[in-house]
Structure formats: structure tokens, C-alpha cells
Amino acid sequence: MVIVSLGMTLIIEFGLQAIVGGTNVSYTMSQGPTVRAGGLVLTAVQFVIIGLALVVMAAVHVLLRYTKLGKAMRATAANRSLARNCGIRTDRIVTVTWALTGALCGIAGTVFAINNGSFGATSADLFLVVILAAVFLGGPGQAYGAMLGAVVIGLATEISAAYITPSYKDVIAFAVLLVMMAVRPGGLLGAAA
């Protein structure tokens, strides 16, 4: 599965690069007034991004917890053939899940571009690995684990960038993951192995 997604990444990333070329596209919008809070400097746009992340987290929570679709998704994940025998159209659930994840990634890509101001076909190159690290840090298959993992990895990278040096920020994130794997192989919220 990981191999397939890495293969797809190659297709899309380099296909895009072959078509649009390797130049970066800039995507600038007014960043709004800046706010200083305890040594952190945040623009209004960044506040909007944080708010958006919170809304998405809440929406995912509601989806998985309270809707029929969410329950069907969890049932499919837990036991696909059983879910199928209980009348869940698992193929459709899988397709819908792909579409939803695609949409979530689309939001993530948009805010990534807004925050950075520019992007190109390869600007998200390492991003995939960072995301994988966040998901596995939280515990795969755990929605709340992924949220927690993302927060931990995100803070670890950016804070270490401020205190050590920006070139090592991803190294720190990955070191966090490797330490976690040694100590708690199931992920932060995963079942103990």
C-alpha cells in the first residue's frame, strides 16, 4: 500500500513537473495585520489557517462519530467483509473515503500555498514523508492520533527551527518519530503492541 502511494506520488509529481515545468507559481494575498503573542508572530491569515484546521478537526470528529457515513467508514476499516455482509457498500465507502481525503489534502495544499506565498511541483516533496511521520506518530488508523501526531510534529519542527537551525527542522520531526517507535511501537494513541 505504501509502495503504491509512493508510486502514485512519482506519477503526479513528475507528471505535473513535465507539463507545467519546474518553475514556482506565486500565490500571494494580503497577509493582514500581524499579531504578536508571547514571542510568536502570527498574521491574520495564519490565524484563519489555524481556525480552519480546528474546524476541519471538529468536522472529522462529527463525521466519524455521529454520521451514518462515518460509522460505515469505521466498520469498513475494522472488518471489510463483515461490513459488506451487513449491507454496507464497502467499495463505495472506500471511494468516498478517497474523495474525502483528497478534499482534505486539497485544503491542506491551499493553505500551505497561502502561507508560503509560492509553490511549485516539487515544493511538497518532503511533505509526504512528514505527513506519514505524523500519522504513524499518532498511531495509524486513529483519526485523533493523526491530529495529535500532526500537532506534535508541526510544533517540533517549527520550534526547533527557531531554536536550533531551520535546516534540521525535519530531522527533529523524524527523530521524534523514531524515538516514539522505539518506546511505543503502536503509536501515541495506538494499542500497545
Binding site: 500500500m1 509502495i3 518532503l126 534540521y168 518519530l177
Partner: protein, 620 residues
């Protein structure tokens, strides 16, 4: 042929040699042993850097424009040997990622992340290996004596690269086609079961990581000697995917497949297309399309032909010498000859017995009443659930002890804890007078305490014969050193094992299935294979988890009779079973569990007489 064409051809040959060595190493890890090493490229990088700093002169002597460790200026072939050794040693720290606790996707992501981390570290920390710019002006081997740009030198380089590739082929073949290779494939198919049969998973994974690392390191050394430059850009994590693509397309687990994949993918796409004129399309267009093509090939192959162009071949270990034409009907009637040859001590015991207790006294083995296995206050918690909550039992030598109880009573968990598949929360397991509580499953299996599993657990891509052979204990060929010493070293053990396996296959009526893949058997045949495999370990004590589930009732009776025969020969068996008629007929004593504790122990007759037992289980 013009000299430019010759140069081009030699260049491709050298790359082919390098990629074949690397792909053979990766195929050994991924295809044979099932270790998804997404960090594989690191080992090639380690080898290349090692060869570079071993052969480079010291920093100051080299103009001082690049900074690096070492610079020992050692003569050929020391850098290549060093590359292989350091590549292998570099694999050792990774064993914690592929050990017992961390499996599958986790280890894969861990290794991927490690590969990226290493690349970032080397890129950003310049004094170590000259950072992002990388090392250049690496001396070509023997460049003092010969002219590296001459055609003769190029020819020699290509020939040496291909000879080393042939050597790598010979090496991995020797390992994979040995009993040790069989154990590796067993681990790939089902690691928990391999563990329960006495395979040391950590040692096996470590050895393939080290072997693959050494091959990757060697390939890096050869490569850097030829291109004379090495930088982090040459070993991004995507390069690992190219090698994976090669192994998958060629055929994972097949050596010829690895060679074919190495020629098709890294050589064909990456290297050969560099010579396509890049005059059409925007700059970098051809490069980009290569990556697209590699990605597409991986996805297409995994979708339509996951076994690759040259699939792993089935190892036929001639069942031909024992021609048995058995139909399903014959399988059901197998017990006749077996009992005749073997069942004198318990003649007639498999007939429905009105009073199990009377048979117990008739069985000679019970006279030796030493407890083979004792559990003392065993506790196993899952989260807040006490699956096993303070169980103390004794299993006496030569008995076929039954274990019954409602679903969720903790029977399977108890078996797992006794076998060491899962650790205890507290309590003790004493086996043959020895405290084995702290021993992992494979060590207990080597002491003769062997379990089977409730769910079918055959090694799917091993034949039935290989399934049985994989369980043989103390096989001389079942270690890396033994495998490397070659067939002559272990042939006698192998022949003895095959002979034993044939006898068992005959006894259980599966001779005609010896060369069938485990994954192609029917449910009942899988159970039989599993029991036979457990017997191949020459156990002193068997822990059977519902061995008769899904088996035809007549066949179940025959299995029961076989088990009684084995007990009469001195084996001890603890068996979980739901079918009370089986318990009535074969098991004495019977242990009754409910809600994680032992409710009662005795003959089935005793148990039926006790009110709380009937209430908990027998009536419901």
C-alpha cells in the same frame, strides 16, 4: 563500433552490474524475507561514501576545497571491501526497527523516515561528508597504474562489475535455496507462526538486513569508483523506489527476476534514457517522464501482475517417490493403516468409550505422572480486560488434556501465554521443571513446547512439504553460516527431514499434496498441515488451539485417535476444543475455563456432574 558507442555500451554494463547487485540485495530482503526496507538506498550511500573516503587523499592534499572525514588514500580493492563491510555494519542499528515489536507498515515508514533523515543530515552538515555539494574527484581504482579513460580500463571495469554481480547472484542463491532461506520465506508468510516454530525472527531479519546492506554497500563502492563523485542528490529516498520498482517488476523473491528488473528499470529507464537527446520538450522533460514511467510501472504491476515478470518459482521437493493417489474419500479413511502400524499400546482406545476414566487408567503413559507444564497464577490483561485472571494448572506427561470453556473464557490467550506468543502480565510458566516465563516463543519451541493456532496459519507460499521442512529443529542448514557452507554441509539433515516429512504426509493422507502451496489447500487440509508441521518440530508438548475446527467429523475422530497414539508414545498435549463429543471421547483430564479462571478440572463425566459447570457452559 565507434568509440562513443563502445563507451556507451560499457557504461551501461557497469551500471547493470551495480544495479543487479543492489536489486539482489533488496530482493533478498523484500521478496524472500518480507522486510520492506524503504531505507535501502542508505546502504548504497554508506558504501559509496566509505569507498570514497577510504580512497581519497586527506583533505589538505586534495586542494582543501571539500571537507570530509578520513581521506586515507588506501589502494584498491580496500575501498570496495570496506564499502561492503561498512554497508553491512550500518544495517545493525536498524534491526530495532524490524525486530519483533515493530512490523509491517511501521517498519517501512520508520526506514523511509530514517533514509530521509540521513539524507538531510548529510546535506546540512558540511564537515562530515562535504554537505550538499558531495564528494568529487574520488580516485578511480588503480588510477595510478592505468588510465581510467582508456577503453581497456573501461572494459576491465565492466567485467569486474559483472563478475561481482555474478558473485552476488551466487551468494543470495546459496542463502535462499537453503533451509535457512526456507525459514526466511516462512517468516515472510507468517512471522508469528515462524516464531512459534522456533525461528529467531530478530536474528533472521538482522542477517538479511546485514547481507542486503553489504551488497548495497558494495554496489555503492563500485558505482563511486566509476563516476568518481557522490552527493546527497544521488541517493534521495525516491531512488529506493526505483529499486523497489525493479524488484517488483522483475519478480520479488526470484533471483532471475531481480536481475531482469535491474536491467529493465534502473538501467533501462534511468541510465539509458540519459542518452536520449533532450531537445524535445521543456528542459528536464525526459527526466520527469522517467519518474512518471517508473511510478506507473509500479502501480500497474502491483495491480495486474503482483508476482512480477519472472515469479518466484515453486520449489518441488519430489513427492514422486511416494506415489499416492488419494481422493478426498481416501483422506477421510486414513486412520486404518496408521493405527495398525502404530497403535498397539492404545488398541481400541479410539472407539467411542462409555467411560473416559476407565481408558485413562488403561493408558500406560499416565503411570508417569510428572507435570510437564505448570502454570502458576498466570495473569494476562488486555487494557482493562482480564483475559486470563490467575490460572494455575498442571498438565501431566502423556495425557491428552482438554481445555474447554465458553467463547471469551481466555482459552486461546492462555495457550498464547503458555507458548510465549504473548507475554504474561504476572505469574509463572514452568516447563519440565524449568521456569520459562521470560523466554520468547522461539526459545520455548526449541525446548519442545510447540503450539498451533486457532486460525489457519500455514505458510501460504511454501509448499506443504516445505511447510513441514521449515519446522525441523537443529537443521545444519538452518543458519546463515550453515547456508553459506553449501548443500554438501546440510544435505544429510535435509534428506532425513524429507524422509520424516514423507512418513507424516503418508500418515495424514496428504502425500499427493506435498508440492501444493499451503495457500491452495482446503480448510481441513490446512489444519492437518499445521498439526504435521508442529509434529516435525519433535515436540515434547503440543498446545493445540482447536485443531479440529472445520474438519470433517470422521477426520476429526481420526485426528483424535492419532493424538492419543502420540500421547501413548510419551507426548503431552493440551488441546482447546469446542466439540464436547471429542472431549468425551479423547480427553482426560479436561480443564474448564470461564471468564479467565479455571472453573473445574476432571474427567468429562465429573464435569457434567457439577452444577456450576453445567450452568456456565454445557447447557447453554
Amino acid at each position: 563500433m565507434t568509440s562513443a558507442q563502445l563507451y556507451y555500451l560499457l557504461n551501461l554494463l557497469i551500471y547493470a552490474g551495480v544495479d543487479i547487485i543492489a536489486c539482489l540485495g533488496l530482493s533478498q530482503q523484500f521478496g524472500v524475507a518480507g522486510v520492506t526496507n524503504f531505507g535501502f538506498i542508505i546502504f548504497q550511500a554508506v558504501g559509496a561514501y566509505t569507498a570514497a573516503i577510504l580512497s581519497l587523499p586527506s583533505q589538505s592534499a586534495n586542494g582543501g576545497f571539500q571537507s570530509y572525514l578520513g581521506g586515507w588514500n588506501l589502494p584498491f580493492p580496500v575501498p570496495w571491501i570496506g564499502a561492503a563491510i561498512v554497508g553491512g555494519l550500518a544495517a545493525l542499528p536498524f534491526t530495532f526497527l524490524v525486530g519483533r515489536r515493530l512490523r509491517g507498515d511501521f517498519a517501512a515508514v520508520g526506514l523511509l523516515v530514517t533514509a530521509v533523515t540521513f539524507n538531510l543530515l548529510v546535506t546540512n552538515y558540511r564537515p562530515f561528508l562535504n554537505g550538499a555539494a558531495g564528494l568529487s574527484l574520488v580516485p578511480a581504482p588503480l588510477q595510478g597504474e592505468y588510465d581510467p579513460s582508456g577503453a581497456g580500463y573501461q572494459w576491465a571495469y565492466a567485467v569486474i562489475a559483472l563478475v561481482l554481480a555474478a558473485g552476488a547472484y551466487w551468494l543470495v542463491r546459496r542463502v535462499t535455496e537453503s533451509p535457512y532461506g526456507r525459514s526466511l520465506r516462512a517468516m515472510r508468510d507468517n512471522d508469528l507462526v515462524a516464531d512459534s516454530l522456533g525461528k529467531n525472527l530478530l536474528a533472521q531479519r538482522t542477517s538479511v538486513l546485514v547481507l542486503g546492506g553489504a551488497l548495497a554497500g558494495l554496489s555503492g563502492g563500485i558505482l563511486v569508483g566509476y563516476i568518481t563523485t557522490w552527493s546527497p542528490g544521488a541517493w534521495g529516498y525516491a531512488e529506493t523506489i526505483v529499486l523497489f520498482a525493479a524488484v517488483i517488476i522483475g519478480g520479488a523473491g526470484s533471483h532471475r527476476g531481480a536481475v531482469l528488473g535491474a536491467i529493465l528499470v534502473p538501467v533501462g529507464f534511468e541510465e539509458a534514457t540519459r542518452y536520449i537527446p533532450s531537445t524535445f520538450g521543456p528542459p528536464g522533460f525526459v527526466d520527469d517522464l522517467q519518474w512518471v514511467a517508473i511510478g506507473l510501472l509500479v502501480v500497474i504491476f502491483l495491480w495486474f501482475r503482483p508476482q512480477g515478470i519472472l515469479p518466484e518459482r515453486r520449489r518441488i521437493i519430489g513427492a514422486a517417490s511416494a506415489p499416492v493417489n488419494m481422493t478426498n474419500e481416501d483422506v477421510v479413511t486414513l486412520a486404518g493403516p496408521v493405527r495398525a502400524s502404530h497403535g498397539a499400546a492404545v488398541a481400541g482406545s479410539a472407539l467411542p468409550a462409555a467411560d473416559p476414566a476407565s481408558r485413562a487408567t488403561a493408558s500406560p503413559a499416565v503411570a508417569d505422572d510428572g507435570a510437564v507444564l505448570r502454570a502458576v497464577d498466570l495473569v494476562r490483561d488486555f487494557g482493562g480486560v482480564h483475559a486470563v485472571a490467575g490460572v494455575s494448572i498442571e498438565v501431566r506427561r502423556g495425557t491428552l488434556t482438554g481445555l474447554i470453556g465458553p467463547n471469551g473464557a481466555g482459552k486461546s490467550t492462555l495457550l498464547s501465554v503458555l507458548a510465549g506468543t504473548i507475554p504474561v502480565t504476572s505469574g509463572q510458566v514452568i516447563y519440565q521443571g524449568r521456569d520459562v516465563t521470560g523466554l520468547p516463543a522461539y526459545r520455548r519451541a526449541r525446548l519442545g513446547l510447540v503450539r498451533t493456532f486457532q486460525l489457519a496459519s500455514e505458510f501460504k507460499r511454501l509448499t506443504v512439504m516445505e511447510n513441514l521442512l521449515s519446522a525441523v529443529p537443529g537443521h545444519r542448514g538452518d543458519s546463515l553460516a550453515g547456508a553459506l557452507r553449501g548443500r554438501r554441509f546440510w544435505r544429510r539433515d535435509e534428506e532425513a527431514a524429507i524422509a520424516r516429512a514423507r512418513v507424516l504426509l503418508e500418515r495424514f493422507g496428504l502425500s499427493s499434496y506435498a508440492d501444493t502451496y499451503g495457500g491452495d489447500l482446503s480448510g481441513g487440509q490446512r489444519r492437518l498441515t499445521e498439526i504435521m508441521r508442529a509434529l516435525m518440530t519433535e515436540p515434547a508438548m503440543l498446545l493445540l488451539d482447536e485443531p479440529m475446527a472445520g474438519v470433517h467429523p470422521r477426520l476429526a475422530r481420526q485426528i483424535g485417535a492419532q493424538l492419543l497414539d502420540l500421547c501413548a508414545e510419551g507426548m503431552t498435549i493440551l488441546m482447546v476444543e469446542h466439540e464436547l463429543a471429542i472431549m468425551d471421547e479423547f480427553c482426560n483430564p479436561v480443564i474448564m475455563m470461564a471468564e479467565g479462571t479455571v472453573l473445574a478440572t476432571g474427567t468429562m463425566t465429573d464435569l457434567r456432574a457439577r452444577a456450576e459447570v453445567v450452568e456456565a457452559y454445557l447447557v447453554g
